[in-house]
């Protein structure tokens, strides 16, 4: 089976002994190439932990997480660093743009370190910000800033694009535009996008929805016919 991501019995525990908190317990799922996946869960359900592990920001305690042939459990700190650098693009809830750099420079920041980077201006053109490349983040609206962040993630030309509550800080309309970008990206490039959110309403747009509760997989459903973002209402 040529799964893009396969997670088997992934467990993540924080702390040791009696103080140990198990954030993820025996999580297993598989993601196929070219999928737009949504990981759904309420606050504290363990979805952020899962995101951290998938994004190579944290080590897993036991089990196995294989992303595109890379066994994350076997990587050391440096290995995870390289993994983040080459294979993952990250979109944050609060954009995390460097205020002191112009739009294009923010994208270059990521492009600079990735081996197969896309040109920064091209990436910005894709997200529809061609005219704003010389602006500073503070001169952009929230939606525009998030688009810069997406451009930054895309510019690295990663195998996997992870988004943490990408619409959390945005209004309804803007949020929709952002989600549209993700959907288009998946369709056009055939790459994988994983969106972590607590917003149940955006579920229909995904190819694959994994629901997490109490640190375990509650539901793992595939959507044969995902709804275009434009048609979703919430």
């Amino acid at each position: 089976m040529t799964n893009f991501i396969s997670v088997k019995n992934e467990t993540k525990r924080y702390g040791t002994g009696s103080h140990a908190v198990t954030a993820n317990k025996n999580i297993s799922f598989e993601i196929e190439p070219g999928e737009l996946t949504i990981i759904l869960g309420a606050s504290g359900a363990g979805k952020s932990t899962l995101l951290n592990v998938l994004g190579g920001m944290d080590h897993l305690t036991s089990g196995s997480v294989n992303v595109n042939g890379v066994e994350l459990g076997e990587l050391d700190k440096r290995g995870l660093n390289t993994y983040r650098r080459k294979q993952v693009g990250f979109v944050f809830q609060f954009y995390n743009l460097v205020q002191n750099l112009t739009t294009v420079e923010n994208v270059e920041l990521a492009a600079e370190i990735a081996p197969d980077a896309i040109d920064a201006v091209q990436a910005l053109t894709q997200v529809g910000l061609k005219d704003r490349i010389e602006n500073f983040p503070a001169q952009l609206s929230g939606g525009e800033q998030q688009r810069v962040a997406i451009a930054r993630a895309m510019a690295k030309n990663p195998d996997l694009l992870l988004a943490d509550e990408p619409t959390g800080a945005l209004d309804y309309k803007t949020g929709k535009k952002i989600l549209q970008l993700f959907q288009d990206f998946v369709r056009e490039t055939g790459k994988n996008v994983i969106i972590v959110t607590h917003n149940l309403m955006i579920r229909p747009m995904a190819d694959h929805v994994i629901e997490i509760a109490d640190g375990q997989v509650k539901a793992d459903k595939r959507n044969k016919k995902p709804t275009p973002v434009a048609e979703i209402e919430w």
């Binding site: 952020s48 660093n81 993952v88 990250f90 944050f92 750099l101 420079e105 370190i113 503070a138």
Partner: protein, 863 residues
């Protein structure tokens, strides 16, 4: 420091001026001294230099002072009986109370001036007249420097007439070392010297008449007794012949009575003849007395009557003053920098604190606290820190540091306890600056925050907006710059204040280190260049050419016939001085007129101070040492005033200026001396280079020479060397303190600024990590700018250090010494190296902080 000295001077009532005379002071002299205007107290005393028997240790023995320059007894008691003596405190390690010490005359054919030879030690003491522990003063005996001093009762001196007077001013016009005091002392001393010169003339005239009378009466007496002896001896011879004939006649007649009569007569004749012999002997004595009187008459012109202020009669007083001045120079310039840095650091820190408390402020405002109440919280905090800081700083600055410096500095002086001066003024200034930098900073920051409505205040401060920088506008350059440098450039100009602080902090530290090391280097070069390249002789031996011919010949022989001597040349040597307008200090000058002008170069290399060309003495003027010319503001062609010890001035033209690092010298040839002084420069000294120039052999040679009757003094090159080495030793500690504080400060600046930088950019850093930047790249993202700033700081620091060093070296060295300008590259390398090491240390700590930044921070909401 000065306070300590002043207190001791006051306690011992150190004489303001001292009058010394080469002959004892008679009633009239004393009257003159007492009548001098501006003098409140005058005390007369005895002084004589002797050596400790069977050694070369020269001691100055003085009569117990009662009113002025009193002793501080450290052990035992004062001398009461004529056989008791009090020695200087330092000798308490070598001698014990109750021990006997025997003095002897330091010169052949002279007396000690004391009634007895052996004295019982009854106490040990210190005196402000002998402040310096290691160099008590110079003497004409032994090695040329005093080994110790002693105090005995007045009656222990053989002469009833005193030979020294100590005076106190009616109005001292201020404390010791104050400008007003020193100025007053100088003007008054000058006036007194004139009066004394007049008195000296009369005195010499009186002595001359006295001596003339004595000589003429002696001569006539000798004539008379010569004639008498002649007659008597003729009579005796005749009588002898008659008696011999009579005796022969009587013997042939075998007349026993006649024989007895004649033999009786012969006996009487024998008695008469022995009486005649006695007369002859007394004639010889009279003759030698006459010769002595004649010699004394010859030396009448050598009789001087000098008055000197503390600065001149008391080496220690002068040196201590100069040392204090040196500390002043350093103390004025270094703290300025420290303050600047401290203000900047506390300013930024306080502002940062207010920024961090922003949300708290907003909440308080929202809960209904007034602006004033919120503001009060910060003001109370900052005032507390400022006051605490000032109290701690004052304790450190007024008690601890002075102790360290005092200990370092007075190691050579006889001061026991440091008297700490509460410099209220400085504390107040410090407090004001501290308050300004903390309170003002927090007030300004809090005020601007409080202007914002509470609701907004509760939200985090919007990050500083990115802005265009000038560099960006230079498109070709900007386009060529690599991405990371673009980022660095943007960050550099984002916080201009911090940029300048880092540069100033690093530059200051570098500059201070360069200066600190430079001071040491420069003083070292004095020793190296002066005694390695310029002075090639070990000592100058001065004798009195007016002494009796045999004495002079013996003194000359002590130099010329010694097997210790490598080479020697005769010269005229005199101590003169110069004064500068507006300055109260005398520049003591050694005037040298070599007998043979070709040989001088083997002893002193006279080189033009600009072109380094060899100089020769000409008939058109004198060769003057560089520092003297500088102090006098004289250049080639100008004239300078050279003053004799009695203040008589002579004008000399500066024909050339020679490089000289230590001491003031004026060199003339014999013809030019004749022109300036109107008399011939009779050689009275030898410049001597010994085969072995160790201190031991130089001392031994000096004492051998000083034992000669005609010996006046020896001037050792080593002494100057020792003085400079001492200053160097004292400065080393001070420099260490300065360099350490400078380095600490630069560490603090770098740390604070980088810390703020990192804290403020936490989010940025964690984002970079999530994006997959390697640790090194993350560090460099922050540190590239710090490194550039440090580099800039170092460059600025080298420049500033160069200037600052030049400034300090202009003020710091003793007046007699001159330093070679410029810095050695080793110094620069060390200073820069240390700065780099310090910034690497900060970088290392910062790296740990940066690497421990949690990536998950990036995911959190902005707060």
């Amino acid at each position: 420091m000065r306070r300590t000295a002043q207190k001791t001077y006051n306690a011992e009532r150190l004489a303001d001026v001292k009058v010394t005379s080469t002959v004892s002071l008679n009633a009239k002299d004393r009257e003159t001294v007492r009548q001098l205007s501006g003098i409140k107290t005058a005390e007369f005393g005895h002084t004589t230099d002797v050596v400790i028997k069977d050694s070369q240790h020269a001691m100055r023995i003085q009569s117990n002072p009662n009113k002025l320059s009193k002793l501080t007894i450290t052990k035992g008691r004062k001398a009461h009986a004529t056989n008791e003596v009090v020695l200087n405190d330092k000798l308490s390690g070598k001698y014990k109370l109750g021990q006997q010490v025997t003095f002897a005359s330091g010169k052949t054919g002279s007396t000690t001036g004391l009634k007895r030879q052996a004295y019982k030690i009854v106490g040990f003491a210190t005196s402000t007249e002998f402040l310096k522990k290691d160099s008590l003063g110079s003497t004409s005996l032994g090695s040329g420097t005093l080994y110790g001093f002693g105090y005995v009762t007045k009656s222990a001196f053989s002469s009833s007439q005193p030979n020294v007077a100590r005076l106190a001013f009616t109005h001292p016009n201020g404390q010791a070392y104050s400008t007003s005091y020193e100025h007053h002392a100088k003007t008054l001393t000058d006036k007194l010297q004139k009066k004394l010169n007049a008195r000296n003339k009369t005195r010499v005239a009186e002595l001359r008449t006295e001596l003339n009378d004595k000589i003429s009466s002696g001569e006539s007496q000798i004539q008379n007794s010569k004639a008498a002896i002649k007659t008597a001896s003729t009579q005796l011879t005749t009588a002898q012949q008659q008696l011999t004939t009579q005796l022969a006649a009587a013997k042939s007649a075998n007349n026993a009575t006649a024989i007895a009569q004649v033999e009786n007569k012969l006996q009487m004749l024998k008695k008469q003849s022995s009486a005649l012999n006695f007369k002859r002997e007394s004639l010889d004595t009279a003759k030698s007395d006459l010769a002595k009187a004649k010699a004394t008459r010859n030396q009448l012109s050598d009789i001087t009557f000098t008055v000197e202020s503390r600065n001149n009669y008391n080496d220690g007083y002068n040196n201590y003053g100069e040392d204090a001045q040196r500390i002043d120079v350093l103390g004025r310039s270094f703290p300025a920098f420290f303050f600047l840095i401290a203000i900047m650091v506390s300013f930024t820190t306080m502002q940062r604190m207010v920024d961090e408390k922003r949300i708290e402020m907003g909440t308080m405002r929202a809960l209904g606290y007034t602006k004033g109440e919120v503001m009060r919280e910060f003001l109370v905090y900052s005032i507390t820190t400022a006051v605490t800081g000032t109290v701690l700083g004052s304790a450190l600055g007024l008690v601890v540091l002075p102790r360290i410096i005092f200990r370092a500095y007075t190691a050579n002086f006889n001061f026991k306890v440091l008297l700490l001066a509460p410099h209220i003024g400085y504390v107040v200034v410090g407090l004001i600056l501290a308050l300004a930098s903390t309170v003002l900073a927090s007030w300004l920051a809090a005020r601007s925050s409080l202007k914002i409505i509470p609701a907004e205040l509760m939200l985090p401060k919007p990050p500083v907006n990115g802005s265009r920088i000038l560099l960006e506008r230079i498109k070709p350059l900007w386009r060529k710059m690599s991405f990371s440098y673009k980022v660095t450039a943007r960050n550099l100009f984002r916080y201009k204040g911090r940029m300048f602080m880092t540069i100033i902090g690093v530059a200051g530290a570098t500059a201070l280190m360069i200066t600190g090391f430079g001071i040491r280097d420069s003083l070292n070069t004095i020793v190296a260049r002066q005694f390695g390249d310029i002075s090639q002789y070990d000592l100058v031996t001065v004798y009195n050419p007016n002494a009796s011919t045999t004495a002079v010949r013996k003194a000359q022989g002590a130099v010329k016939n010694s097997n210790q001597v490598k080479r020697t040349t005769a010269a005229y040597f005199a101590n003169v001085y110069a004064t500068t307008n507006g300055s109260d200090t005398r520049e003591n000058i050694a005037l040298m007129v070599p007998k043979s002008r070709n040989q001088l170069d083997q002893y002193i290399k006279l080189r033009d101070y600009k072109s380094s060309k060899k100089l020769s003495l000409t008939d058109s003027g004198a060769v003057v040492s560089q520092k003297l010319a500088k102090l006098q503001g004289a250049s080639v062609g100008d004239t300078i005033n050279l003053k004799d010890t009695d203040g008589t001035a002579h004008k000399a033209r500066v024909a050339a200026i020679t490089t000289m690092y230590a001491g003031h010298y004026v060199y003339m040839n014999r013809a030019y001396y004749q022109k300036v002084y109107g008399k011939a420069a009779t050689p009275n000294a030898y410049l001597v280079t010994l085969k072995h120039s160790t201190s031991k052999s130089v001392n031994a040679f000096a004492s051998h020479f000083n034992r000669q009757e005609a010996a006046v003094e020896t001037v050792q090159s080593r002494e100057t060397k020792k003085t400079i080495t001492n200053i160097l030793g004292n400065l080393n500690n001070l420099i260490l303190v300065l360099v350490v504080s400078a380095s600490l400060l630069s560490l603090v600046v770098l740390y604070t600024l980088t810390n703020i930088n990192v804290s403020e950019r936490m989010r940025e850093l964690s984002t970079l990590k999530v994006l997959g930047f390697y640790p090194r790249e993350v560090l460099m993202y922050i540190y590239r700018e710090t490194n550039i700033l440090t580099g800039a700081g170092i460059l600025v620091g080298i420049g500033a250090g160069y200037l600052f060093h030049a400034y300090i070296m202009d003020l710091l060295p003793p007046a007699t010494a001159m330093v070679a300008p410029g810095l050695s590259w080793i110094n620069v390398v060390i200073s820069v190296g240390l700065t780099i090491i310090f910034s690497l240390m900060v970088m290392y700590t910062m790296n740990r902080k940066i690497q421990s930044v949690d990536m998950l921070e990036a995911l959190k909401s902005v707060d």
